[in-house]
């Protein structure tokens, strides 16, 4: 009954708004008429009586408003009213509005981008059923790789996993009848799809039951994306036989569109059974010591805890170590998330993104501080208006609501603009393939989480900066303001606004410092000695197995390739290596001192990186031979095994470089190798690594189908690449090759630091912008507050310098304080940076000077206009106006 009446009154009010208002007006008028009837008597005219009645009644407007409120349903209506009013007010000062919206758009946009990346990389689970219980096996001493026999033992003897699946990533030549292409594939164990619980989009998957020993299951499952791109979604491909590395495989199924394996960035083209990998990679399925399987994953059984599973795995590890001492060192396990290759990528990515999120949060906070002081300044400028409204009977609540509506309006519009911008950035990032050679995608498209987060941030920041002027409004005394005008000076005490500004400048200085440190670090690491010269070099990358070469056919073909490329005009030298330093993998192997007879892993003297090269490699790569000799074409299968090593290798195995020359050491299979030369040290795995032992072996003694040709030439890379392609096609048209410059190849390794530097730079730029607007707001406000005082001083003969000091002294002091604090904080934060960006050090005069200079410049930029205004004060005009 009651609620019905309420709804009715609400509905009446909503749908017949003017009627309700008319009704109310009429009622109040009727009241006054009745009262006037009573007041009217001889001596008091009707007009006078009505006047008195009206005075007695009080402010009709206010009462009407209160009645309106009493009718309920006002929230929406007043909100609409407030919004209308706010829009009108904001449109009156477009400069202020634009600045506020832009500030927030940038801050919220930055947060949305960072959060979206975090969401895509870390928060969003893998797109497989029950991703929360999916773990990868991580050998604490090493990484996530396993050998096939170890995988079988782990799979069959554990009691903790539903099923353990394994996969390996590799490149293979795919021949579908046209030109053979080089493609990225996942070799997956038979139980892979079943263990993950994935259903095929078309056709069928391969299963454990398809495996009957090596090379027994020539089946292939395409990813949806590859099917779409390469086969144009042709359904008749099912059952077709294609060639992988010249071996026939039958396409049996298509994976669902959302499934691209369990690595987050990596999108393979198709899946083949792991059991067939002899045909593809030529790895030995029975070699226990050869850990070529990329990752082993599985769902924990329900009710099995992580610790229990680890204990279970460790007991298998202990068994393996006891049973196969020659192949196994200490085997203890950890469970890791498979999507970012466990902690290897996961930890730095997580740490960096958390840091970035923190920084962008700080940016948003700074933006709020900024807007808070802008709004406070505005509220102060409008104190006369506020006072008038209060005097005319408006409630403080209503005025505050108006202010908050303005703040929220600005924050929501800013948030929307920021989100809009960030969606563009994110879509760009998602479509972007940073490495042409790798099927790497960054799937960071925004989802509902991101939108929700942005909305939340916008609302929160609106309330945050909207709350700054509240006290000011509450303390407004209408009579005081109307009588005396706005108070000239608020006294010398430190206001919250100033603290905010200092904090903000400090944040900005931190960002500027860290981005400079990062940029300098990056620049310096690019001028490092890599141990080779990346300039004027093209890399030709292929694997002879893709064209069906194996065994004795490999070395002559490699020699033909090197010789053929050497005849191309403009080519200075051509070298060959099975892998390259700072490439995608730096293969390592255990080595032993010459007098070790028990060659078990725990007795290894070192675990150097190993490259198998042709005699011309050092010359082509410009790796400097320090002493001894280079390889020759006579260092082949029939001559004693020799090696060229680096100084760190020599020191590790032989104690010193001089001892190493002519000395011998052993490989895990017992082969003795004699050191015949020493080359300069270089970087092999990453730019940040400590000096690592490395050895170079003649490819003629250690054949490999994996082939990198290092082509040194001053010619234009594109023309040269075309020439190389033609030349190689004449040798074998079925061999897919990938050609790019050495510098381009290096980008893979520089990607992380580059992105970090870019992100810091962008955030630093935004921080700087915020500091400028913050200082500008503060300085402009203080000048406008003290115009009268400044005018008086000019009239009394003050000099320009004194004027500036009065007007801007405080802003400059705050700037200095904030910058110093920020610089110190930035320097303290450098160790965190050094983790990502190589050679990030703040002990660099250039950085100190740079930060101080840029902060001073920012201050100058921000204070320029207010200073001009202060200097152009015309005392006569000011005094006249007051």
């Amino acid at each position: 009954m009651k609620s019905l009446a309420y709804v009715r009154s609400l509905a009446a009010k909503f749908f017949h708004r003017s009627e309700v208002a008319q009704d109310m007006d009429e009622e109040l008028r009727s009241h006054i008429q009745h009262r006037a009837d009573d007041l009217q008597r001889p001596g008091i005219s009707r007009a006078e009586a009505e006047r008195r009645a009206r005075i007695e009644f009080g402010g009709q407007e206010r009462i009407a408003e209160e009645c309106h409120e009493a009718l309920g349903g006002n929230f929406i209506e007043t909100a609409i009213q407030d919004v209308r009013l706010s829009i009108r007010v904001l449109r009156k000062s477009p400069g202020f509005t634009a600045a506020a919206v832009l500030t927030l758009a940038l801050a919220i946009g930055a947060n949305a981008v960072v959060f979206s990346i975090m969401n895509g990389f870390i928060l969003r689970p893998l797109n497989v059923p029950h991703a929360e219980s999916l773990y990868g096996l991580w050998r604490i001493q090493d990484d996530m790789s396993e050998s096939y026999p170890d995988y079988i033992d782990l799979r069959d003897h554990n009691h903790s996993f539903e099923a353990l699946a394994a996969y390996n990533i590799t490149q293979a030549g795919l021949d579908t009848g046209e030109n053979p292409i080089s493609s990225w594939i996942e070799e997956a164990s038979g139980n892979y799809f079943d263990a993950l619980g994935i259903e095929p989009y078309l056709g069928r998957f391969f299963h454990a039951s398809d495996e009957h020993g090596p090379d027994s299951a020539p089946y292939m499952v395409l990813t949806y994306a590859f099917w779409h791109a390469h086969f144009r979604e042709d359904r008749t491909v099912l059952g077709r036989v294609v060639e992988v590395n010249k071996h026939p495989f039958t396409i049996i199924g298509i994976a669902p569109p959302e499934f691209h394996g369990t690595l987050l960035f990596f999108h393979p083209d198709f899946f083949v059974p792991l059991i067939d990998q002899g045909q593809i990679d030529g790895n030995d399925l029975n070699a226990r010591g050869s850990r070529w399987i990329f990752m082993t994953i599985g769902h924990l059984k329900a009710g099995v805890s992580k610790a229990e599973a680890i204990a279970d795995l460790n007991s298998i590890g202990a068994y393996l170590k006891k049973t196969y001492p020659k192949d196994e060192a200490q085997v203890t396990f950890e469970l890791a998330r498979p999507s970012l290759y466990g902690d290897y990528l996961g930890r730095p990515v997580r740490e960096f993104l958390t840091g970035l999120m923190l920084l962008s949060g700080l940016i948003l906070l700074a933006a709020c501080a900024n807007l808070g002081s802008l709004f406070a300044a505005r509220a102060a400028d409008r104190s006369r208006e506020v006072a008038l409204r209060l005097a005319l009977g408006s409630s403080r609540k209503r005025i505050l609501r108006g202010l908050f509506t303005e703040a929220l309006l600005v924050s929501l519009v800013g948030g929307a603009v920021g989100l809009w911008g960030s969606v563009f950035v994110l879509q760009g990032m998602s479509a972007w393939q940073p490495f042409p050679r790798w099927p790497v995608h960054l799937s960071v498209n925004p989802d509902a989480h991101v939108y929700g987060m942005a909305l939340l941030l916008a609302l929160a920041s609106g309330f945050l900066f909207g709350a700054v002027p509240v006290r000011q409004v509450l303390a407004t005394n209408p009579y005081q303001v109307v009588k005396v005008g706005t108070p000239g000076r608020m006294g010398r005490r430190i206001t919250a606004r100033e603290v905010l500004l200092v904090v903000q400048i400090a944040i900005c200085a931190v960002l500027v410092t860290s981005s400079m440190v990062a940029v300098r670090g990056l620049a310096r690491s690019l001028h490092n000695n890599f141990g080779f010269d990346p300039q004027n070099t093209l890399l030709v990358d292929t694997d002879l197995r893709m064209a069906g070469y194996s065994g004795d056919r490999v070395p002559p073909m490699q020699k033909r390739m090197v010789d053929a490329l050497g005849t191309i005009p403009g080519v200075e030298s051509v070298g060959l290596s099975d892998q390259i330093p700072l490439g995608d993998t730096a293969p390592q192997t255990n080595v032993f001192t010459d007098n070790t007879s028990d060659l078990r892993p725990s007795n290894a003297a070192a675990n150097p990186v190993m490259f198998k090269i042709s005699p011309e490699y050092f010359h082509a790569a410009r790796t400097i031979l320090l002493s001894g000799r280079n390889f020759t074409s006579h260092d082949d299968k029939n001559s004693p095994r020799v090696a060229v090593v680096t100084p760190p290798f020599a020191k590790k195995i032989f104690g010193s470089v001089t001892n190493a020359m002519g000395g011998s050491y052993k490989m895990p299979d017992g082969t003795r190798i004699q050191v015949v030369g020493i080359v300069e040290d270089g970087k092999y795995g990453s730019l940040t690594e400590d000096p690592q032992p490395a050895m170079f072996l003649p490819v003629l003694q250690w054949p490999s189908t994996s082939t990198y040709l290092v082509v040194r030439s001053g010619r234009d890379p594109q023309q040269l690449a075309a020439a190389i392609r033609t030349t190689l096609r004449q040798l074998d048209a079925g061999l897919p090759v990938f050609i790019q410059t050495r510098s381009k190849e290096l980008e893979f390794i520089l990607f992380g630091p580059r992105m970090a530097t870019l992100a810091l730079g962008v955030l630093g730029g935004m921080g700087a912008m915020l500091a400028v607007t913050g200082i500008f707001g503060m300085a402009a406000y203080s000048v406008s507050k003290r115009l009268r005082e400044l005018g008086l001083r000019v009239a009394l003969g003050a000099q320009r310098k004194e004027l500036l000091q009065t007007a801007l002294g405080r802003a400059v002091k705050l700037l200095a304080l904030g910058s110093t604090a920020g610089l110190l904080l930035g320097i303290l934060a450098t160790p965190v940076l050094a983790f990502i960006v190589n050679q990030a050090t703040p002990h660099d005069p250039l950085i100190l000077v740079g930060v101080v200079l840029s902060m001073a410049l920012l201050g100058l930029l921000a204070a320029w206009i207010p200073a001009r205004r202060a200097l152009s004060v015309d005392p006569m005009r000011l005094l006249r106006e007051e």
Binding site: Y6, D23, F57, E66
Partner: protein, 113 residues
């Protein structure tokens, strides 16, 4: 005018309900009736009356309809609804209880304690 009692918070609604319970009234009439029944001891500010009336209508305790007043002017008349009558009874009882209790408490003498 000076010896008028301050209205206790919450009592305005009860007074209005009382006034209207004696017969349908327009706004100004409510004012007069309250003055009359309280022997001019309780005077209500004219401005405060209407928000209260509107609130009571919204709560479904009063209903309003336009009519013609004794002065032959158009006026909006208020009367109790069923819910209004019920609420009026409850509030009256509640008030009486409080008033009695207050009176007893204030009348207490030292020897009674």
């Amino acid at each position: 005018m000076t010896d008028q009692a301050q209205l206790l918070p919450g009592t305005l609604d009860l007074l209005i309900l009382k006034a209207v319970s004696l017969g349908p009234l327009h706004g100004y009439g409510v004012l007069l009736r309250i003055g009359q029944i309280s022997e001019q001891a309780l005077l209500i500010e004219q401005g405060a009356l209407y928000p209260a009336l509107f609130r009571l209508v919204r709560q479904g305790l009063l209903k309003a309809s336009w009519g013609v007043s004794e002065n032959n002017r158009r006026a909006k008349f208020y009367e109790l609804t069923a819910a209004g009558r019920k609420r009026f009874r409850e509030e009256t009882e509640g008030w009486n209880r409080v008033a009695t209790a207050m009176a007893a408490a204030l009348a207490a003498e030292p020897e009674e304690v």
